[in-house]
Symmetry: C2
């Protein structure tokens, strides 16, 4: 089963750092990849790709396709759509149902002003509290609930570096040394 | 017991949206307030304050004081310091100890390049996975673990509006109507 994030196209200057954070959270918490709709942004692509290159894993990044095309294609292939929104059903009330479904999941992270179409096409509109906060936080909490904390045990293939948890300071292993 | 977020001063243009997201997450997940060190940014202040005004609660925002001053004052008043960093001890391994401590908590959310001083002054350096992602996500996950999901039941005093969870669409109650 695939878990892919769809980040709805953002207002360029204002939201590009946020979009990068969404991508990095998606990767760190175990999603398979991110699709960024409607825009092409090489800065965002390079920032996420750089982390994948150094810290490993097979996380993919796609961008530029129209939102409507992406949603229709996902549905046509038998996948389901989960839309994270402060107006939806609280994640604790619905996560067991979502977790049990064997369908590929497209998890939509919007910006402000998401069109009605998205609410209607979504199989689940899910809230991470009903307060305004952050799509970055919403995605992290959703994936933590979906994967039940397993993000803390993830291993990333072909990582060049790995952080070793430490009480004080920074301990980073250069995994490329192993081959020497 | 107080739970206050300290956001370390940010690179102005690049990080102001991120700082706003940190503030909104802090509020939505039940922290008492946010201190933003070293800078004054009226945009960030107004964005967070606007949400407090509309959605309620007593969340406070302070900014402009030097990081060193804030840390020293917190320690002098008997509080403890928790620093969220990808280099720290994984939150599931340490959250029970942190939760049991009766001390006021200053939860530090850095940007990149946090000085060694912060690691050393922190009572706990805590990681939300050892992967690079987002301080916004790290804070949300930390508070969710600290408060054990109670953010989903929070009520905010004097809210002017309230969102009612909905399967499709948006249901918002204007609470000011009650007085009419």
């Amino acid at each position: 089963m695939k878990n892919v994030i769809l980040r709805l196209g953002h207002r360029y200057e204002r939201d590009k750092r946020i979009t990068t954070h969404v991508g990095l959270v998606a990767r760190a918490f175990g999603a398979d990849g991110i699709i960024i709709s409607d825009i092409n942004d090489s800065n965002v692509y390079e920032s996420i790709k750089d982390v994948v290159d150094r810290f490993g894993g097979n996380f993919f990044i796609e961008m530029g396709e129209k939102k409507q095309t992406i949603l229709k294609k996902w549905k046509d292939l038998g996948g389901e759509i989960i839309h994270l929104t402060m107006y939806g059903i609280p994640v604790p009330n619905i996560i067991d149902i979502i977790r049990k479904s064997p369908k590929d999941k497209l998890i939509i992270v919007g910006a402000s002003k998401v069109e009605r179409l998205v609410y209607e096409m979504a199989d689940y509109n899910v809230s991470i509290t009903s307060q305004p906060h952050s799509e970055v936080a919403a995605l992290a909490i959703f994936l933590d609930y979906l994967f039940q904390g397993s993000e803390f045990g993830l291993k990333f293939q072909d990582a060049k570096m790995e952080v070793i948890p430490s009480e004080k300071g920074k301990e980073v292993h250069d995994l490329r040394d192993k081959d020497k």
